[in-house]
Symmetry: C2
Subunit: 401 residues, 2 copies
């Protein structure tokens, strides 16, 4: 239970003006986030609660399909990046000078850490397929942090890495992971607005990668959706002057702006070769495993959920990721009764924000405004009027205690 | 449920030799950890489960006393460190070169981030006292990572920061936090071996700080415990040639080796002054809040628990932080029955490792050895012998299904 009388992160009367999106100014007004520097944020208590709920959804869906959670570090030795020539080729990679004339990497991705790790555990065809994932911060030395939502310098990512004995097995897993991702999207309420777009392979692969793009008014990417077969293309892989669908060669496309949250890459044997990962197949012959990687920008996904459910005045959090389930507005001298009710709600595994702030400044209007600004799904009002009839008000209806 | 037939992190037959402590070689043998570079580790699935359980204990005890969890970033702008002159004075501080000729800090502590954050929310005496905490990685540019357990370059810390209107209020809170810490120590089984030692204030304060030192054969600190009054002193604050107790002036001390896991510092107004934090007191006069900070090295604490409960052959995890509650050894063709039992155990909110590995290599001896190496509190055996009587064996006793 959070009692607002003791809670430090107070709301502001007026939303600060942020030009390029609706949610950020509401999040600032509600005291949920603060900027530490451009592209780097501090999360206060309620924002962190939402993050943990989204993390939990991601974990549950990944764990279901035998992906095992691990935790790799943020720092890494230069030597592993030298093996794949990515120390200098990843343009946003932070190089950290250290004692003894060393330099460490501050990881923007983790292939160079996970591959030598799994080399030790993948030795036989019986060890395949296998998949590990982590929820860990990533760092990017961005030239310019863009708006409040895009191009962060530090953000939380779920990244998974799978290892396979055959191309066929990899392709099955890759297609299957798209379904896992769609399920995660569904649970965080982004499914309706998502398209899977073909995109460039970046430093990972020469093949196409797949991006999960959420259609949004704040965007970084432009997506061309084929009007014939529906295949979506990141503009980076097409000729913008003369669109031609990669799948069906149709020449008309719908153009939408979108924001990338998830991406998945076929890595083939790029990393397993670089780190000399080998397994013995059924005939006792050495083979090189095939890899895939699967990312979710957890902290960006959260912000995009906020943007999607933002009105001009509040963010209506969906029940399963809201920072609390109930907001109890306590008026006058009815705190004891309110605490009893809060306790009862908590006994049913629901979370409560108890607005027990007292004094002239905290009348009905102020408390209701904060309840709405925070966007908690259910609002309870307990006042002399409701109490005298042994009632409380829940979402506008009178209910007996 | 973790099924070992699908689990990548296999145990090794022989423990690798690590010279300076018992636990590390067992953790490596059990596949729980791997070194990414000196002082920087990767946690595999089961180690991460232990970490999450310890985190949960820390959270529960902190939340009870109205400390609010937040999450500050790992990166910070140089400007905030310039205000306290600590950019150069913290010798282990990583400076990260960034685009546009900037440098960021890779935080080894968070006073310079939390103080400007709370400046905005601490405005009146009514906002005090208040306390926020986070569980976040810290980074230290150590010259030499010492053993496997000490002087890490990246580790997880719980750090809390409290703000007060008076010295008296601060002192009460500080003493009270010692009790919260002792409660946490109790729940992670380190209470018996802990002393609270007076120590140097480092770059934080001219007063003494307090360290929670666990007596241990692998250590970094030497503690002098007064034989008269029991006051513990870190050797850094005494004259080692001529010990004199700071409390009672006695001259005889017991000397013990110990490892620091927790420390708490009175920060007085050092940081609130630097960031010009002010609040209005009851008379409408501007005052400067007093701060305290309270750290727990979560990842070190976890390792020290491992060391404490390590025998030569396994680590006996206490029930509340073990990576699983039950380890089911399945022999011969009894997997279905074992899965039913595992399901039943999980329905009671307990966690299961199901050793369903089949084939010649995975006989009774191999499975029992792994069960013991992993140190899971309860071992269940299901074999033809037990099944024919509708029994299974739990911790050596036969129990009917």
């Amino acid at each position: 239970m959070i009692k607002l009388s003791k809670f430090p992160f107070k709301t502001e009367k007026v939303a600060p003006k942020i030009s390029d999106n609706k949610s950020t100014s509401l999040l600032l007004q509600a005291g949920l986030i603060r900027q530490t520097m451009a592209g780097v944020y501090t999360y206060t208590t309620l924002w962190l609660k939402i993050l943990k709920k989204i993390e939990k959804i991601v974990r549950e869906e990944m764990d279901k399909y035998w992906a095992f959670e691990i935790l790799m570090p943020a720092l890494s030795p230069k030597e592993v990046w030298d093996k794949t020539w990515r120390w200098d080729s990843i343009d946003v990679f932070f190089h950290v000078p250290a004692t003894n004339n060393k330099e460490y990497g501050l990881n923007s991705t983790h292939e160079e850490i996970v591959t030598p790790l799994m080399k030790e555990f993948v030795q036989s065809y019986k060890d395949l397929p296998t998949c590990v994932y982590q929820i860990q911060n990533k760092f990017r030395n961005e030239k310019r942090a863009k708006s409040w939502i895009l191009r962060w310098r530090e953000f939380l990512m779920k990244d998974a890495y799978s290892f396979h004995a055959s191309d066929e097995d990899f392709v099955n897993y890759y297609e299957w992971m798209k379904k896992v991702y769609m399920k995660i999207f569904e649970r965080i309420w982004l499914l309706d607005d998502t398209v899977i777009a073909l995109a460039d392979g970046w430093t990972f692969t020469d093949k196409y990668s797949h991006e999960f793009q959420v259609k949004l008014s704040i965007w970084e990417d432009t997506i061309y959706i084929c009007k014939n077969c529906g295949t979506a293309h990141n503009e980076e892989i097409i000729d913008k002057e003369k669109f031609k669908c990669i799948n069906c060669w149709w020449i008309n496309a719908e153009v939408v702006s979108a924001s990338e949250i998830w991406n998945i890459f076929p890595l083939e044997t790029k990393f397993t070769k670089a780190f000399d990962v080998k397994y013995l197949d059924e005939n006792g012959k050495q083979q090189i495993p095939i890899m895939g990687c699967y990312g979710i920008w957890v902290s960006r996904a959260m912000w995009i959920v906020a943007e999607k459910f933002a009105t001009d005045k509040w963010i209506s959090w969906p029940e399963n990721i809201a920072p609390a389930d109930y907001y109890i507005v306590v008026l006058w001298d009815n705190l004891k009764k309110a605490e009893e009710l809060a306790k009862k709600i908590e006994d049913n595994w629901k979370e409560v924000i108890l607005d027990d702030r007292m004094g002239k400044k905290f009348g009905f209007g102020t408390k209701m405004k904060d309840a709405e600004l925070l966007g908690i799904p259910h609002i309870v009002i307990i006042s002399d009027k409701t109490i005298e009839k042994w009632w409380y008000e829940l979402d506008g209806e009178l209910i007996s205690f």
